[in-house]
């Protein structure tokens, strides 16, 4: 298997000698090379070079050479001369006082004893330390690294390293001076220098430092500022660094501004797909505009933003992968420049194979269904970018490492393959919490698997350590304290059947609460209140009549069980109540573009929630329950009594409200209809994604009973006022946001007697209108912030007779919202209520609302 190199000759190996070793045995080295006396080999040859490589790979030697020492016939003696790299014995750092700082330097440069002291190590250590201090503003820092061989009795090859650090003084920029700038002020230019700043006592968040690489960037920024303002020829003629004293320097930049230029004729060449008119519109720069070099380049191709509006992207998003666009200045006269935009369109490109690699947990089908790029489809840069973005949002992969890779783009056939390289990231969350509150210890355990595989539960091989990869969500949560326990489990399959994004969600929850005795500070386990809930829902996005419509169905069941436990909800302390409902939802949402801050479009939502109309067939006469023997008040012995406890005859019997309510609420009976409409309109545009947007919103809700004699249950009611955040409640109540008033304070306007009960009962009808003006402060993906001001009004009622859409509790105010992907939405609003809350006579006045995690 040995081959000759160049004019190698074949020899038989005679003796091998190893010289230059200090710490290694000669035989060990020879054995490692694998060469034996009597071997036949070419010199020079493949085998020898492999041996050399093997030795080099050990990283133990700084020099390795083979010599032929003697040739007799075809027998050659070899000498292998090696130079061992010395090992580090000890490091001493001089010039730094702090012990911790020294240790840090040793750690950062990996200078433990025993490492091989190569030239490379010495140089990188020196550069590293120098740069480190320069970055901190010690512009004059100097580092010298020396090595001293260790002399001791044993023949080891060790050195000590001495690192001499001279930090020098911390240098600050005392002054930045511009000369030659007439059109742009010193202040404007200084502001452009982002990292090179004059020292200023008040600017404590960014200290003045002089770092060469930053200074270079900042000089470019100054030139770019000129280019943006029409000064095409602007340049820094010279710049001087003046040392004022040990700690202070001054910078003097001499600028030559040149003339201010304007755009002349722009001519398009080579375009067949788009007309000149279309390209001109897309280019957006017209004859007579001030010359702006930076903008011109960006309109051709903006490297900093992948989805920018540029001519290159216009072509790239429509299949022209191989297109190439050049901007050429053709003529300069007086202060005007003519341009030619030369376009080579190339062939349209189509995707051929689309592949995914790196998915060692997530199954192919889960990823492929999210891909926007399809085999046989026209190439579009936009689609590749949005696919990468959406894959990142799934939460299964590290968004930073997602990378689309073009394979074999072929300009002749017009095809390319695309590979999405993904890196799996942990998609599971564990929540463990303990705390003291509400009279005892509260513990929470939560598990959430974001990329679960139910099918894998029965598959032994899928446990690694848990079955993952089907894109399903499974969450389990348990919370317990001395007086209550709650357990919940939910499961979501986003693509039921794998054909369309039909999501199936199921959830199960169970809560048990014991009566808490505040005197004894312990729970009374004999008195309890249980709620059991099960919910199954199905949501599907329709493709007809338009793709914005989602239809959802869900079935829900709640069972309330009371065991000698009196709540405000029921007039009875023992008994149960069931709530079985079907909900139909219809949503149309075509808001665009940013879900956090839509610029336009509208969103409508209608939901209808029903229980079965039991009263139609169960034959119970709800009107006259009080007249029936079994619903009348009686004592323990089963004798009829009146409210004072005196025995009475059947004619004088009084109804037992608890028993009547138990009968009425055994199975809750109601229907509920809600409508919600939101419109977004851009009123004015102050530049790209700087839109002043008006959000118009109206909503109505109605809770009704099938049978008037049975009535509307005290569940599922509407509570108006405040921040509208869901609060902990047992009765399925809905809180409706109305800023400028305290939470859930607005009871129906038609209630005249203000008793405890009337304050706690929710309404059955409500309406609400709101106008909100929004303006974005920043819409970066890392954090979106916008300011808003609003006018709104709403009211609730106990029945339709009193409904008056113009009799409203009005309010106005302003606020701010911050959306960060990691935290969701956070916000604060200040609202002024113009109307009194029930029971008061003067306007409610100012309220502050904190908004957390609510949908925009």
């Amino acid at each position: 298997q040995d081959l000759p190199l160049a004019n190698g000759k074949k020899y038989t190996l005679g003796d091998i000698k190893v010289t230059g070793t200090v710490s290694y045995n000669e035989q060990t080295v020879i054995a490692y090379t694998g060469l034996k006396k009597g071997d036949e080999l070419y010199i020079p040859g493949d085998r020898l070079s492999k041996v050399l490589k093997k030795l080099w790979d050990l990283d133990l030697f700084s020099d390795i050479s083979f010599y032929i020492t003697n040739v007799e016939g075809n027998v050659a003696d070899l000498e292998l001369e090696i130079q061992e790299v010395p090992q580090l014995a000890e490091v001493r750092i001089q010039g730094i006082d702090k012990k911790r700082e020294k240790e840090e330097l040793i750690k950062e440069n990996k200078l433990q004893s025993g490492v091989k002291v190569t030239e490379n190590l010495i140089t990188t250590t020196k550069n590293y330390i120098e740069n480190k201090y320069k970055k901190e503003g010690y512009f004059n820092s100097k580092v010298v690294v020396n090595t001293i061989p260790v002399e001791d009795t044993t023949a080891t090859n060790k050195v000590n390293m001495v690192v001499n650090v001279d930090q020098g003084e911390k240098v600050k920029i005392d002054e930045i001076e511009f000369t030659g700038n007439e059109r742009l002020s010193d202040g404007k230019l200084k502001r452009k220098m982002k990292n090179t700043k004059e020292k200023n006592f008040f600017r404590f968040w960014k200290r003045s430092k002089f770092i060469r690489s930053d200074y270079k960037e900042d000089k470019q920024a100054v030139i770019d500022k000129y280019k943006e303002s029409g000064f095409r020829d602007a340049r820094i003629v010279s710049d001087t660094l003046i040392k004022k004293d040990d700690e202070n320097i001054a910078l003097r930049l001499n600028i030559e501004e040149g003339n201010k230029y304007y755009i002349g004729d722009i001519e398009f060449l080579g375009n067949t797909v788009y007309t000149d008119e279309q390209l001109k519109r897309a280019f957006g720069i017209k004859k007579g505009d001030t010359y702006n070099g930076v903008l011109l380049d960006k309109r051709i191709d903006d490297q900093t933003k992948p989805d920018a509006e540029s001519l290159t992207n216009l072509y790239q998003n429509n299949g022209y992968l191989f297109s190439n666009i050049d901007l050429v200045e053709t003529d300069v006269y007086n202060d005007t420049i003519d341009f030619e935009i030369r376009i080579v369109e190339g062939k349209e490109a189509y995707f051929n194979k689309i592949r995914v690699s790196g998915n060692d947990k997530t199954k192919d089908h889960v990823i492929y269904r999210e891909l926007r790029t399809k085999p046989g489809e026209k190439y579009s840069k936009q689609k590749v970018i949005s696919t990468v973005r959406e894959l990142g949002q799934l939460g299964y992969f590290d968004p930073e490492q997602l990378e689309p890779k073009f394979i074999d783009p072929n300009p002749n056939t017009g095809t390319l393959d695309l590979e999405y390289q993904v890196v799996e990231s942990g998609a599971s969350k564990i929540e463990l919490q303990g705390g003291y509150g509400g009279g005892g210890f509260i513990g929470t355990v939560g598990l959430s698997f974001n990329n679960f595989s139910i099918a894998g539960l029965l598959d032994k091989e899928a446990y690694k350590p848990l079955p993952m990869g089907d894109g399903q969500t499974l969450s389990l949560r348990a919370q317990a304290s001395t007086y209550y326990q709650t357990y919940s489990l939910s499961f979501i399959e986003p693509w039921l059947g794998g054909k369309k994004p039909v999501s199936l969600s199921t959830s199960f929850s169970y809560t048990r609460q014991f009566l808490f005795n505040y005197q004894e500070r312990k729970a009374d386990k004999s008195r309890s209140f249980d709620i059991l809930g099960v919910n199954v829902g199905l949501a599907e996005r329709l493709s007809n009549p338009d793709p914005y419509i989602t239809v959802s169905h869900s079935l829900g069941f709640q069972r309330y069980n009371l065991n000698n436990y009196n709540t405000g909800l029921f007039t009875f302390g023992d008994g149960h109540s069931n709530n079985f409902t079907y909900t139909l939802g219809l949503t149309r949402d075509n808001t665009y573009f940013n879900p956090v801050f839509p610029n336009g479009g509208s969103q409508f939502k209608i939901t209808a929630k029903f229980t079965p109309p039991y009263s139609l067939w169960n034959g119970v006469d709800y009107d006259n329950l009080g007249e029936q023997r079994e619903f009348q008040l009686e004592n323990e012995n089963g004798n009829l009594i009146d409210y004072d406890g005196n025995r009475v005859t059947p004619e004088n019997a009084v109804p037992d409200q608890g028993k009547i309510d138990q009968e009425k609420y055994k199975w809750l009976e109601f229907y509920k209809v809600k409508f919600n409409g939101t419109w977004y309109t851009t009123l004015a545009n102050f530049g790209k994604s700087q839109n002043l947007v008006l959000r118009t919103h109206a909503e109505y809700g109605f809770l009704g009973a099938y049978s008037n004699s049975r009535g509307i249950p005290p569940f599922e009611r509407f509570f108006l006022g405040g921040d509208g955040l869901g609060s902990y409640s047992l009765d399925g109540r809905e809180t409706i946001q109305l800023r400028g008033y305290p939470n859930q304070s607005l009871i129906p306007l038609d209630r005249n007697s203000l008793s405890q009960a009337s304050n706690e009962d929710g309404a059955v009808i409500y309406n609400k209108y709101s106008l909100e003006l929004r303006y974005p402060i920043t819409l970066k993906p890392s954090a979106s912030i916008y300011a808003l001001t609003f006018l709104e009004g709403g009211a609730s009622y106990d029945n339709f007779r009193d409904f008056n859409p113009f009799q409203l509790n009005r309010s106005a105010g302003a606020g701010i919202r911050i959306f960060m992907p990691a935290f969701g939405l956070l916000g604060i609003d200040f609202g002024y209520g113009f109307d009194p809350v029930p029971g008061e006579s003067s306007p409610n006045g100012w309220e502050t609302h904190f908004i957390i995690g609510q949908q925009f």
Binding site: A31, K353, V356, K363, H365, K374, P375
Partner: protein, 251 residues
């Protein structure tokens, strides 16, 4: 006893103990003993590097990982062994076990197949170096098994486009599949679903496009029959083609 050996400085003692443990473990098929042996090998492998016993220690070390089914490290250690001792009598076995380790690492078809591809390359390297080797038959079997796995992956991806009614993408993918894997057991299915995609695409098209697409589908029908005159989808494909013919009469 064992702990004493672990703590001792005597490399020779460790070597004999480790070897003994390894042999016993192999006889008794005991993971516990392999683990014990492994701990000792880990300690002595660097010390024996370049020494006469180094070769054996390296082999046993790699094989212990292999026996413990830690295929990731086994493949790496066998690779090192092969490079360091290409002339060893164990070289063939090492080469095979390295390839076999990648084979064991190869995940199911719906995950990334980098290890599968690596395994095929390594198995092929083994077969090239030892065409009549001891494990050649097994290696051949594994190669074809892995090959089918890759075919299954490509087929299922194409099938998913059909399932999600992305018929154009399905046709392109099945075309690529048929070209890339000529002898695949999924070939018949691929040909059928390619036809079915074209058929569904055609009958759900605007009228202006329909005639051309129906004709394309009919071509695919003929293509299927050419390769599989008595295929398993015969009934369905005949029914669909009859529908194509009736629809074509409208033009």
């Amino acid at each position: 006893e064992y702990q004493k050996v672990v703590k001792s400085q005597d490399a020779g003692l460790k070597y004999t103990t480790a070897e003994q443990l390894y042999n016993e473990a192999k006889e008794e098929d005991s993971n516990r003993k392999f683990k014990k042996a492994l701990r000792l090998f880990e300690q002595i492998v660097p010390q024996f590097r370049g020494k006469p016993q180094g070769q054996k220690v390296s082999y046993l070390y790699a094989d212990t990982y292999y026996q413990l089914e830690d295929y990731y490290l086994a493949s790496y250690q066998f690779e090192r062994f092969e490079q360091t001792y290409p002339d060893s009598e164990k070289a063939e076995e090492a080469s095979y076990k390295k390839a076999r380790s990648y084979y064991e690492l190869s995940p199911r078809y719906f995950l990334d197949q980098a290890d599968t591809e690596k395994a095929i390359v390594e198995l092929q390297n083994y077969l090239n170096a030892y065409p009549d080797g001891e494990f050649a038959e097994e290696a051949n079997k594994m190669v074809s098994e892995l090959q089918v796995k890759l075919e299954k992956k490509a087929y299922e991806i194409a099938k998913q486009y059909h399932h999600t009614e992305d018929y154009k993408a399905a046709i392109v993918s099945f075309d690529n599949f048929i070209a890339d894997y000529p002898g695949s057991p999924f070939r018949e299915k691929a040909l059928y679903y390619k036809f079915d995609s074209a058929y569904e695409l055609a009958i759900n098209s605007y009228r202006v496009l329909m005639e051309e697409r129906l004709n394309t589908a009919h071509e695919y029908y003929k293509n299927y029959l050419k390769y599989f005159p008595q295929g398993e989808f015969q009934e369905q494909i005949e029914a669909s083609d009859a529908d194509i013919q009736t629809r074509l009469q409208n033009f």
